[in-house]
């Protein structure tokens, strides 16, 4: 017994001390980390829902198991919805914010806020300003029918051109958007906006 204590007391003491140290760091940083995450979501919402007032925090609802934000403008009028949607990606999951018009009939924007898609190819699902054409194609699309991926410039209103014919990421993003169209859009609360 004495031998056990002699050989292990340091590990036990260090375990306790380090746990206290981690708890202190955690409580010192957690607010800031949460704030960063909130900021990121709000920035994405502002990008996909035009006219949203940054000073009015969007109201969070749960629609068809998705977090949906009701976005207001400065006058308190509903200017659209932002859907927080996550789905499978090529390497890791992809998290999108999908903007919808107040009546839910039009997509007002798609923005990826988390993904690990291939740099130079799949990461073109991310908009940087107006650089990448892929996510921008969703803006203005009708939610009346599911999107279809094509490997040539889109001709029909429901078509989206893939990043390259062989890039899976285009399909994964589309699957997430189509899931939002199929599941969230019909369940949106009616809005006289």
């Amino acid at each position: 017994m004495k031998k056990f204590v002699h050989e292990s007391w340091l590990v036990v003491v260090m375990g306790g001390a380090f746990a206290a140290l981690l708890a202190t760091t955690q409580s010192a940083t957690i607010d800031r980390i949460r704030e960063n995450e909130r900021q990121e979501l709000n920035t994405a919402i502002a990008e996909v829902v035009p006219g949203v007032d940054a000073a009015k925090p969007p109201e969070k609802l749960s629609v068809a198991e998705h977090d949906v934000y009701r976005c207001l403008d400065a006058q308190g009028k509903v200017v659209g919805w932002a859907v927080d949607a996550t789905g499978a990606g090529f390497i890791d999951k992809i998290r999108l914010v999908v903007g919808l018009s107040p009546d839910g009939r039009t997509i007002t924007g798609v923005k990826a806020i988390w993904h690990l898609e291939t740099p130079g190819l799949g990461n073109k699902i991310e908009t940087k300003g107006t650089e990448n054409f892929y996510p921008l194609q969703y803006t203005g699309k009708s939610t009346q029918r599911a999107m279809e991926l094509v490997k040539r410039p889109a001709a029909e209103p429901h078509e989206i051109q893939a990043i390259t014919g062989a890039t899976y990421s285009s399909q994964y993003v589309m699957d997430i958007v189509n899931a939002v169209i199929a599941r969230v859009v019909p369940e949106l609360p009616a809005e006289q906006g």
Partner: protein, 213 residues
């Protein structure tokens, strides 16, 4: 670790003669995975330096108390604690970079450079020597990652951006569409590392001959 080394030699050894990446070829996982840009390389280097400094400090302070057969347990405990602290600090203060580094910050825990310094130096040396060694190794690691980061970012993205967003180098606009995407993909890491290690070995082999002549 020969005890006759001066503190300065110990420090320099981590950067030049015993550079963990370019000479010892340790810590290859972050080296290959996150050197697609200079910013990632610098942040990863700084995080690893913080961890190796703290781990060497603690190990060296406790070296007389550590029982030989539980030493690995103590190293891992120490390293894991400070990696978690570094990870939380990055998430709080450098959120975008920490997203790009993803799992590779927590993976510093299994970076063999750090456990190697604890075992080889900190367990047998005083606090000052252990700290000097940790800073040397940390800077050597950061330097090696930065060399790879600079090469890969310029060739793969056509530009070089400092942390904070200042563009340091920008290749002519005509280059960008033809940037070698492969350089920021995993194969580019192997190609660049191979070339850089080759150059380092060439320089190391040349040196003694010059001394002899």
């Amino acid at each position: 670790m020969p005890e006759e080394m001066s503190h300065f030699q110990q420090f320099k050894s981590g950067i030049v003669e015993n550079n963990p990446v370019l000479v010892q070829l340790l810590g290859m996982c972050p080296t290959l995975a996150i050197t697609n840009s200079l910013e990632n390389a610098l942040v990863m280097g700084a995080a690893a330096t913080f961890v190796v400094v703290m781990s060497n400090l603690i190990t060296s302070l406790l070296r007389k108390l550590i029982q030989p057969h539980v030493r690995i347990l103590i190293f891992t405990l120490t390293i894991a604690t400070f990696v978690t602290i570094a990870d939380m600090a990055l998430k709080a203060h450098l959120y975008q970079v920490s997203k790009q580094l993803g799992a590779f910050v927590p993976l510093i825990i299994v970076n063999c450079i750090i456990i190697c310094r604890a075992e080889v130096v900190a367990l047998k040396s005083g606090v000052v020597r252990s700290l000097v060694d940790a800073f040397g190794i940390g800077i050597g690691f950061t330097l090696a990652l930065s060399i790879l980061g600079v090469i890969r970012e310029i060739l793969g993205s056509g530009s070089l951006t400092l942390p904070g967003g200042t563009k340091l180098v920008e290749l002519p606009a005509g280059f960008e569409p033809h940037a070698w995407i492969i350089m920021i993909l995993p194969p580019g890491a192997f190609l660049t590392l191979g070339v850089v290690v080759g150059v380092v070995n060439y320089l190391r082999q040349r040196k003694p001959k010059e001394v002899a002549a």
